[in-house]
């Protein structure tokens, strides 16, 4: 599992996030309205995970740990 919620209620992505994480991330973000996402510690994202982030547009703590995503998504 690479998607967690920490003590302050922020959702944190850690390490490599494969396709399965997409569903988890969706649920975590849905559970808390006004959710906050910290993706500084993930190393790479699957498209599906990125898709969730783009669709839900949570408040972000960045930059994204995946360098490709960090470079091309401002």
């Amino acid at each position: 599992m690479s998607a967690l919620r920490n003590s302050e209620g922020t959702v944190v992505l850690v390490g490599h996030c494969p396709v399965e994480d997409a569903e988890t991330l969706l649920q975590l973000l849905q559970a808390s309205a006004g959710a906050h996402l910290d993706w500084t510690q993930c190393s790479s994202l699957h498209t599906a995970v990125l898709q969730v982030v783009l669709a839900m547009r949570p408040a972000l703590t960045g930059p994204c740990g995946d360098p490709f995503v960090a470079k091309w998504l401002s």
Partner: protein, 759 residues
């Protein structure tokens, strides 16, 4: 039209004309030599001009023509009549477009259609030729950003910032829209995008609007990826080989990425870097040492200039120092090092490919080109009129000099004045002669229009004819040369229509199958000769006698007694025509009499000789220079008019008591003759200036065709020696005018034909 448009029109017309001539000549001579190069260059230049004026239809059509010409040059395509026809048709179309552009500022509405058709025709000639890939005329190939798909434009803006100004790199825009179920196939589109080399811009967006969150399916892909990469299509095709149906690619021309309007420091920096980089490459591509100091010196200068432009003065100074060291050591390395250092400090490094450039091509021989100016004809006319005025002035001065002599103001002064008057005389004569020289043009100017006409007409008449031109460098006044076109055209038509026989006739007569029409010009003192001859069936003088008798031109006995040459001359009689058939070429009613009249109008003579079975020759003898006319400028009804001096007897200021009423007219007695007075303003339908009846009248007494009359005018201005231009265009039917001339101040003066003006 603005200057640029005028320049385009003038240049395009010249290029088309020259290319037309060259193509006709090429048909005769084959494709070796300068001509084919010239035609290629014509299309090439026209293509470039179309680019400048933003006329893509013309650009594409010219590109196709250029490719055809290139194929001919390299021998890949044979120069057949079909190819020539195609090229001529293309030039005709361009000619039409340019005329439309000149009159309306745009091409005709069917230009795109016509252009596509001609382009297809031209490219059709190249089928099977591998020199250039088939350029479809779709808008995707126009090198304008507006032709790129909508989604590319925003990407380009991003890309520009990142790529700087790389030269010669190919860019491709790519749009990848994965299938919604791609995740179930194990696809990770984002991962695929990471593999794209040299990514310059990437944009990720939703294909369809995101559904409300409860309905969001994270495993249905709703993303689209768009990017620009500095890579080839094949590279990209390889990366996306598993999903080719989900990917679209578009080539981006390098020009679309070079943007105008940026004034930021960033773009300046990019520009400076690219210049400095280029100097490194240029220095490294040296092939020999001969140009060492030039190469090093210019590279340094370009880099220094660019650095100063980018406000990096200290870097510029370093380059200067490095250059001095390099030049003294005769070694480029110090400069190379300094340039690389400057680049690094500017924030970029560049890997420069090693390897030498190809051998320079052998030099063509340097022949001095002829230097000529294109000058407006009106300006030369104005100059001519000024020279004429100068002559009048000079005459006045000569007269004064004489008076000075007579009235004994002292020998010294008198001699001094005479000396200056003599000098003035010489100078004005020289100036006058020089101006007349300026007006001289070679006969080729009118001859050159004929090869195409002859070719077309011969084709239509299904006759084989070749046109030979000689003596084209013979020079004559431009007006005369221009006025030669119509009579020459008629003579040529006659020769084609009635003179040259059909191929079978010629064969059975033992003549070469191809008939020859010759146009020859030669100088003859202050006149020159133009002869149009053919080797056709000739004219039988007895035929002429018969026709003349039919038309009752002369009594039969006279005709019989007349020698053959005289009989031949009857051809020029009014209403004469040697054939009942009216071909569509010669038309009805334009007989040799019209030829004679038009030649006579330019003070020329025309005569004809012929031998049955051998051919006919028509000879025109013409003056090489136009006569200038003397004109008096007068004012009436608030306007200026010119009165030909040869009609003017004298000018009089007439006291009112000398004026009498004779029947319904006013008149006066001049040396026992009654002279009617007409107000010029009235004759020209202009309002009269209010005048008191007690004032003296200013009159110009004229005598025309035996009739004497006095024109009442308001003022007399100068006397001029001018070139009279006949009325043209819409006004050519207007009665009362002998022509127009251009005054020194640039205004047009109407010169009256008194025969028609006076009641």
């Amino acid at each position: 039209m603005n200057t640029l448009q005028e320049q385009f029109t003038a240049e395009a017309r010249e290029l088309v004309q020259q290319a037309l001539e060259d193509l006709i000549a090429l048909e005769r001579e084959g494709s070796a030599g300068e001509r084919i190069d010239r035609v290629f260059r014509a299309f090439h230049t026209l293509k470039g001009s179309a680019g400048i004026l933003d006329l893509p239809v013309m650009g594409l059509t010219m590109h196709a023509a250029e490719d055809v010409l290139a194929a001919i040059q390299t021998g890949g395509l044979e120069l057949t009549p079909q190819v020539i026809d195609c090229a001529l048709a293309c030039l005709d179309l361009v000619s039409e477009w340019v005329d439309s552009f000149a009159s309306h500022g745009s091409f005709p509405s069917d230009a795109a259609e016509a252009g596509v058709a001609v382009t297809a025709q031209l490219r059709g000639l190249l089928v099977g030729d591998e020199l250039k890939p088939n350029l479809s005329v779709s808008s995707a190939n126009l090198t304008s950003e507006h032709a790129l798909p909508q989604w590319v434009a925003p990407l380009i803006d991003v890309a520009r910032g990142r790529i700087g100004q790389k030269r010669g790199t190919k860019f491709v825009a790519l749009s990848y829209e994965p299938r919604a179920d791609c995740f179930f196939h194990g696809d990770d589109p984002l991962q695929t995008m990471r593999k794209v080399p040299n990514l310059c811009a990437l944009h990720i967006e939703a294909v369809r609007p995101w559904p409300p969150l409860p309905e969001l399916d994270p495993y249905s892909c709703n993303l689209r990826f768009q990017c620009i990469a500095a890579a080839s299509r094949s590279e990209l095709a390889g990366i996306f080989r598993l999903v080719p149906d989900q990917v679209r690619m578009v080539d981006i021309p390098a020009s679309a990425l070079i943007r105008e309007g940026e004034t930021g420091d960033d773009s300046r920096l990019v520009l400076v870097c690219s210049i400095v980089e280029e100097q490194l490459r240029m220095l490294r591509s040296a092939t020999d040492r001969e140009d060492f100091s030039g190469r090093v010196g210019s590279a340094a200068r370009a880099a220094m200039n660019a650095l100063r432009y980018g406000s990096r003065v200290s870097l510029s100074d370093e380059i200067e120092r490095a250059r001095d060291i390099a030049l003294s050591l005769l070694e480029a390395t110090p400069l190379l090092a300094a340039l690389e250092k400057a680049l690094a400090l500017l924030g970029r490094t560049e890997r420069v490919p090693s390897g030498s450039a190809p051998e320079p091509k052998p030099q063509p021989s340097d022949r001095a080109g002829s230097r000529s100016l294109r000058v407006d004809e009106g300006k030369i006319d104005a100059l001519g009129n000024l020279a004429g005025e100068l002559i009048v002035l000079k005459n006045a001065l000569a007269y004064l000099a004489k008076r000075v002599e007579d009235e004994s103001v002292g020998q010294d002064l008198s001699r001094a004045v005479k000396r200056e008057a003599d000098a003035m005389e010489r100078l004005s004569a020289e100036l006058h002669a020089a101006i007349l020289q300026l007006r001289l043009v070679p006969i080729s100017q009118v001859f050159r229009r004929f090869p195409r006409l002859v070719r077309d007409m011969a084709q239509r008449l299904d006759k084989k004819v070749t046109l030979v031109m000689q003596g084209e460098t013979t020079e004559a006044d431009k007006t005369i040369v221009d006025r030669l076109f119509d009579p020459l055209l008629h003579l040529v038509r006659n020769a084609l229509d009635h003179g040259i026989e059909s191929s079978e006739e010629r064969r059975s007569a033992g003549k070469p199958e191809i008939g020859t029409i010759t146009m020859r010009a030669s100088p003859a003192g202050r006149r020159f000769i133009v002869e149009v001859s053919d080797d056709g069936r000739g004219i039988d003088p007895n035929n002429i006698r018969l026709k003349a008798a039919e038309r009752k031109l002369l009594p039969a006995e006279e005709l019989a007694a007349m020698p053959d040459e005289q009989a031949m001359d009857l051809i020029f009689s009014a209403g004469f025509s040697t054939t009942q058939q009216v071909s569509d070429i010669s038309g009805r009613g334009v007989g040799m009499d019209v030829v004679r009249t038009s030649v006579q109008q330019i003070e020329g003579r025309v005569s004809l000789t012929s031998t049955v079975g051998l051919g006919t020759a028509v000879r025109l003898e013409l003056p090489a220079n136009i006569a200038m006319s003397q004109v008096m400028v007068v004012e009436a009804g608030g306007q200026l008019f010119g009165i030909p001096m040869d009609a003017v007897t004298e000018t009089i200021r007439l006291a009112p008591d000398r004026i009498s009423q004779i029947k319904n007219n006013t008149g006066f007695v001049l040396r026992d003759r009654i002279v009617p007075i007409c107000a010029l303003s009235g004759l020209m339908n202009l309002a009269d200036a209010p005048r008191s009846d007690s004032a003296a009248k200013l009159l110009v007494v004229t005598e025309v065709g035996g009739k004497i009359a006095a024109l009442e005018i308001d003022a007399i201005h100068d006397r001029l020696e001018v070139v009279l231009k006949p009325m043209q265009g819409l006004l050519s039917g207007a009665r009362g005018y002998a022509g127009t001339t251009l005054l020194g101040n640039g205004r047009v003066l109407l010169v009256l034909d008194l025969k028609e003006v006076l009641p």
